[in-house]
Symmetry: C2
Subunit: 341 residues, 2 copies
DNA sequence: TTGAAAGCGCTAACAC
DNA sequence: GTGTTAGCGCTTTCAA
């Protein structure tokens, strides 16, 4: 088992200097095959593993990337964390995860913590790390003055900050336009976040509506502020809106959870989907195939985004010049909650 | 911003020795209020933060806990990781996350990696880390010889290994018994894992069936081996089983995903739920309220389990004597996929 | 109450 | 090709 030997013990047993052991350990050239083998034998025999602290102390790096994520129990964020974590490992990096919650204060704290742990970079998963007010994003710039900061599905123009985003605006624009083309006019937008991507989505919806010359009733943009797991609360909100006289024949939701709330609303109120109510979700998550009829949803190619993020990060860490912002486009996956025209 | 000062810089500016700065930093007594204040002022002014490596080198601990999880995109595991991560942070510990996948080999590697990072303990989330063959669990015992190992929802009797489990056996037994009591006899068990908890669940089902004297058709225990996200594949398997002549009027599933597969199967085959087919899921996850009718599901009190795990761990790290195994019992949450008798 | 100094285990520049 | 040695930044005796 992992013994508590030091490089000195190994060097002694192998009859070489610690420098040689270190060279073998780090795969340096300039070691004869013979001594290399001799040292490796001892290392294996005693199952010696170098002390990461001592190494870190000298190199000032732990080959570790900090990942920040507001809520890893969110299906979408969890998946992103999963991809990133795997890709990182396959590139020889470890990851330090922080589930920060949605509060700016704790985000700042987590950021400091990661920096103090000497991570080589920080990856922010999800768009809720970017704020409206410029000063609220200072914590990101500060961090970026120490290590590169990678944003997944968010964008911020600042030195040493790299953004990988899905084109949520266009995706939402297309989804809305498609629903309009299928004959719906009273399309409700159901959302729960004013994050970077949240605002882009909303803007896409509005643009399509305006372009089609459809009157915008402000109430048609319903903000939901409950738990993202409480589907009943979502349905309830829609029911109440409807009872208050708001009419709608389509729902575009900012994520699949919300779309599911709309499905539940329809079922509870005896509406036929998609005849009476057409619904489009976002993320194309597991949830999209859970309900009946199944959810038409926008796939924003999360895995591709993550892959690109890691590729970019590895480039940066190797001192290469890398694009500061990359945009991928999404895709509408047609299922039962919409009618193809 | 996090400057790159050392304890030497601070000591110089404060006009004291590094030892004194260190004492202030570590809240040691034996420092006069006056010098303490003087030092703190400098520390605050320059926003100095001590180097974690150097500290770790000396103390041989980083106040960091390793978390291993096969797949953090699994709803249930992700939630557990989330709880644990939060609780750890609130106790002043950081966490190093490893998504290991389901392969023994990579699990062993992750384990070694965490140990080499000098974590203070390792938490294994989920029951898939425990294997049938004793030798396959050696990697856990090995790790436990270095740091305490905590198991969430799995059990292993070994020195320095602590288990926090939900009583899956009894939960499944009760669920099955309840379904039998409601008049069903041909109850199919749908599962996808032979993990520790997987086997306990299966055993609970069998015990209830045998006790009721119901003939056990081996085919009634359907093992699903596809992706845990592919609900269609699950439904397909049930459809095929049914077409091959297997009849069943109830499904007990080892998790909510599988139960959803059963719901889909019923819908595709025109079966009424719960009249023609009664269904019970497991985990009481978000998924339980996604479908229609909603899923009766077993809640195994994940948050309580996690809390207890952390409490136990903190006790251990403080040198206290702690219970090696704690069992919590689950609870059946009644919803639309079963008929109350 | 404070300071000096010896590690902690490793890497890398520099000698040989 | 190999060894010597000076750090890396901190904690912690031991003296004063």
């Amino acid at each position: 088992m992992t013994t508590n030997m030091t490089i000195y013990d190994i060097s002694e047993k192998a009859g070489v200097s610690i420098a040689t052991v270190s060279r073998v350990l780090n795969g340096s050239s300039n070691v004869s095959e013979k001594t290399k083998k001799k040292v490796m034998d001892i290392i294996n025999r005693y199952e010696y593993t170098p002390n990461a602290f001592a190494r870190g102390l000298g190199l000032n790096t732990m080959k570790t990337i900090g990942i920040m994520c507001a809520d890893s129990s969110d299906l979408y964020l969890a998946k992103a964390v999963y991809y990133i974590e795997q890709l990182l490992r396959s590139n020889g990096y470890d990851s330090l995860l922080c589930c920060t919650g949605y509060d700016l204060n704790t985000k700042e704290q987590s950021m400091e913590l990661l920096i103090s742990k000497k991570v080589d970079s920080i990856v922010l998963v999800g768009s809720n790390f970017i704020y409206e007010k410029e000063e609220d994003n200072r914590y990101i710039c500060d961090a970026a003055s120490v290590v590169p900061v990678m944003l997944l599905n968010a964008a911020l123009e600042a030195p040493n900050v790299y953004s990988i985003v899905s084109d949520d605006y266009t995706s939402m624009y297309k989804a809305t336009a498609q629903m309009i083309a299928s004959g719906r006019k009273e399309i409700l937008y159901f959302y729960n976040s004013f994050s970077y991507s949240g605002k882009r989505k909303l803007a896409g919806y509005r643009a399509a509506m305006e372009e089609a010359g459809i009157f915008q009733n402000g109430l048609r943009m319903q903000f939901y502020k409950g738990s993202h797991e409480d589907i009943h609360a979502m349905a309830k909100q829609l029911t109440e809106a409807s009872q208050c006289g708001l009419s709608f024949d389509g729902v575009i939701a900012a994520d699949d959870n919300l779309a599911l709330g709309a499905v539940k609303y329809a079922l509870q109120n005896g509406l036929k989907i998609p005849e009476d109510l057409s619904i489009i979700g976002y993320n194309n998550s597991l949830l999209a195939t859970c309900c009946e009829p199944e959810l038409t949803s926008i796939d924003n190619r999360l895995e591709t985004l993550c892959q690109h993020l890691i590729t970019t990060l590895m480039g940066i860490l190797n001192g290469e010049e890398m694009p500061k912002k990359t945009v991928f486009s999404g895709e509408i996956i047609q299922r039962g909650t919409t009618l193809l025209q």
